[in-house]
C-alpha cells in the first residue's frame, strides 16, 4: 500500500516534469533455513550482468569478514570468473558480513553509483550463494534499463537460495 503510494508519488513527480530522481532498484533475497547438521551462513555475491555475461555493476558481496576468509571467495564461481577476481576486497558500500537466514533487503538509487553509469539495455540481476560444507546456486532475474515503469520480477533458487524479487520504480 505504502509502496503503491510511493510509486504513484514518484510517477506524479516525473509526469509533473520535476527533477525527481526517486527511481530505484530494490531487491529482496531470501536466505533459506536449511535442515542441516552443520550450518554456516553462505557467501553471497549479487551483481548486474550484461548481455555478454560481464559484470555491469557489483551490488553486494557478503563473506566472512572477521579473520582472513577471503580465500573462499573463488567458490562464488560465476562471480569470481566474471570479475570478482579483479576486485580488491573489502570495498566500502559493497562488501559486508554474511547475512542470517531470512529476507535480505537491498535498495539502489538509479541516479547514484553503481546504477548511474549503467547504459540502456538488457540486464539481469544475478544472486550467487555458496555455503561451507553445502552447495552453490545462482539465480537470475532479467530486467531492462532504464526503468520505464514500475514493475516486479522474481525467480527462486531450489537449494541455497529462496525467492529473489526484483522491484523497479521509475
Amino acid at each position: 500500500m505504502f509502496r503503491n503510494f510511493l510509486v504513484a508519488l514518484s510517477l506524479a513527480m516525473v509526469t509533473g516534469g520535476g527533477t525527481a530522481t526517486a527511481a530505484d532498484l530494490s531487491l529482496r533475497v531470501e536466505i533459506p533455513q536449511l535442515p542441516v547438521a552443520e550450518y554456516h551462513r553462505p557467501y553471497v555475491a549479487i551483481w548486474i550482468e550484461g548481455p555478454d555475461q560481464t559484470i555491469a555493476a557489483n551490488l553486494a558481496v557478503w563473506y566472512q569478514v572477521r579473520g582472513d576468509h577471503t580465500k573462499w571467495l573463488p567458490d562464488l564461481r560465476q562471480w569470481w570468473r566474471r570479475g570478482g577476481r579483479d576486485l580488491k576486497v573489502p570495498v566500502d558500500g559493497l562488501t559486508g558480513a554474511t547475512r542470517p537466514v531470512g529476507q535480505q533487503l537491498l535498495k539502489f538509487d538509479a541516479a547514484q553509483a553503481p546504477l548511474a553509469s549503467l547504459k540502456p539495455g538488457q540486464y539481469a540481476v544475478v544472486v550467487e550463494a555458496v555455503r561451507e560444507v553445502g552447495g552453490r546456486e545462482a539465480v537470475r532475474v532479467p530486467f531492462e534499463w532504464p526503468i520505464k515503469k514500475a514493475s516486479s520480477a522474481n525467480a527462486a533458487g531450489t537449494k541455497e537460495l529462496g525467492a529473489v524479487v526484483l522491484t523497479l520504480n521509475p
Binding site: A37, E38, H40, R41, P42, Y43, Y63, Q64, G67, H69, K71, W72, D75, T98, V130, R131, E132, V133, G134, G135, R136, E137, K159
Partner: protein, 266 residues
C-alpha cells in the same frame, strides 16, 4: 562460510563447539598386486573432498597395522602446511589398516577469573587439572580417521581396541564396486552402535554444485547398507555425543569416525 578457525587446522581435533574441517586420509591407491609396492598417503583437514586447500592433519598418532597385525612404519613422514604425507612400503599380502586415532580429555575451568584449558590423556588428568578447579568442564574425545589398502586378496580385519566408534566391516572396505551395496557395521565401545547417523560423500565436491551427501542410520546391529552410485573415493563420517566417557570422573564424550573408501568400476 568457511569459518573453520585457523587454530583448528594447526591442532588436530579441536573439540570446540564449532565444527572443525573434515579430517581425511587419502591413499594414492587401495589395490596393489600381490608383489606389493609403495603407497603414498595424504592426511589433511579440509571440507572440500579431497582437496588439500585447508589444513594439514598431524599424523603423530598414526598406526598402520599389517595383515599379520604387526605395525608397519611410515616412511618419509612430512608435515607441510596444508597436508601431512607419508609413504608405506607394503610387501606382505593382505589388508593394511591405516589409522590416526586419539583418545583425549579436554578440560576448561576458571582460575582467578581467567579461562584455562588443558588437553591430555586420561592418565594425565590428575597432574593436568588442578584439584578443586572452579567451573570445571571436562569432556572425553575419541576420534578415529582411517583408510585401508590391500595387497592381493583383501584379508579379514582384526577387531579394534573396543573404544569409541570403530568400523567392523561386513563387506571388505577394499572390495567395493559401483552400483553394488556394501554392508558396514559400526561398533561403539566394542558393541553394536545403533541409531547413529552415517554420512557418505563422494570426492570431487569442488566440481559439484551440490555436495550430494547420502545419509544413513545404523540399525540395531549397528549396520548400514550403502549402495555406491559411482566409482571414486568416498568419505564417510559417523559421530556422536553422549555421556559414555570412560575416563575417570568424566561423563561427557564426543566420539567420531571418518573413513576414506575407494569404490571401483564394475
Amino acid at each position: 562460510m568457511k569459518t573453520s578457525l585457523v587454530v583448528a587446522l594447526c591442532a588436530l581435533f579441536i573439540p570446540a563447539a564449532s565444527q572443525a574441517a573434515r579430517p581425511w586420509l587419502l591413499p594414492s591407491q587401495t589395490v596393489l598386486a600381490r608383489s606389493g609396492g609403495w603407497v603414498a598417503v595424504d592426511a589433511a583437514m579440509a571440507d572440500d573432498l579431497f582437496s588439500v586447500n585447508q589444513g594439514a592433519m598431524p599424523v603423530d598418532t598414526l598406526v598402520v597395522s599389517g595383515p599379520d597385525g604387526q605395525a608397519v612404519t611410515a616412511q618419509n613422514v612430512t608435515k607441510s602446511r596444508s597436508r601431512s604425507t607419508f609413504d608405506l612400503e607394503l610387501r606382505q599380502a593382505g589388508t593394511y589398516r591405516i589409522a590416526v586415532a586419539e583418545d583425549a580429555v579436554m578440560a576448561r575451568w576458571e582460575e582467578d577469573g581467567k579461562p584455562k584449558r588443558w588437553r591430555g590423556s586420561a592418565a594425565e588428568m590428575a597432574t593436568g587439572i588442578p584439584a578443586g578447579a572452579a567451573k570445571l568442564e571436562v569432556e572425553q574425545t575419541q576420534r578415529r580417521v582411517e583408510t585401508f589398502v590391500s595387497v592381493g586378496t583383501p584379508t579379514e580385519l582384526k577387531p579394534g581396541a573396543g573404544a569409541g566408534i570403530e568400523l567392523a566391516p561386513i563387506q571388505h572396505p577394499n572390495d567395493l564396486y559401483a552400483r553394488e551395496t556394501a554392508k558396514f557395521r559400526f561398533l561403539l565401545d566394542g558393541k553394536a552402535a545403533k541409531d547413529l547417523d552415517v554420512e557418505v560423500i563422494a570426492g570431487g565436491t569442488r566440481y559439484r554444485d551440490s555436495p550430494g551427501e547420502m545419509t544413513f542410520k545404523t540399525d540395531k546391529n549397528g549396520e548400514v547398507s550403502i549402495t555406491w552410485p559411482a566409482a571414486g573415493m568416498y568419505w564417510l563420517e559417523v559421530s556422536l555425543q553422549d555421556e559414555g566417557a570412560t575416563a575417570p570422573g568424566v561423563k561427557k564424550r564426543r566420539a567420531s569416525y571418518a573413513g576414506t573408501f575407494e569404490v571401483l568400476t564394475q
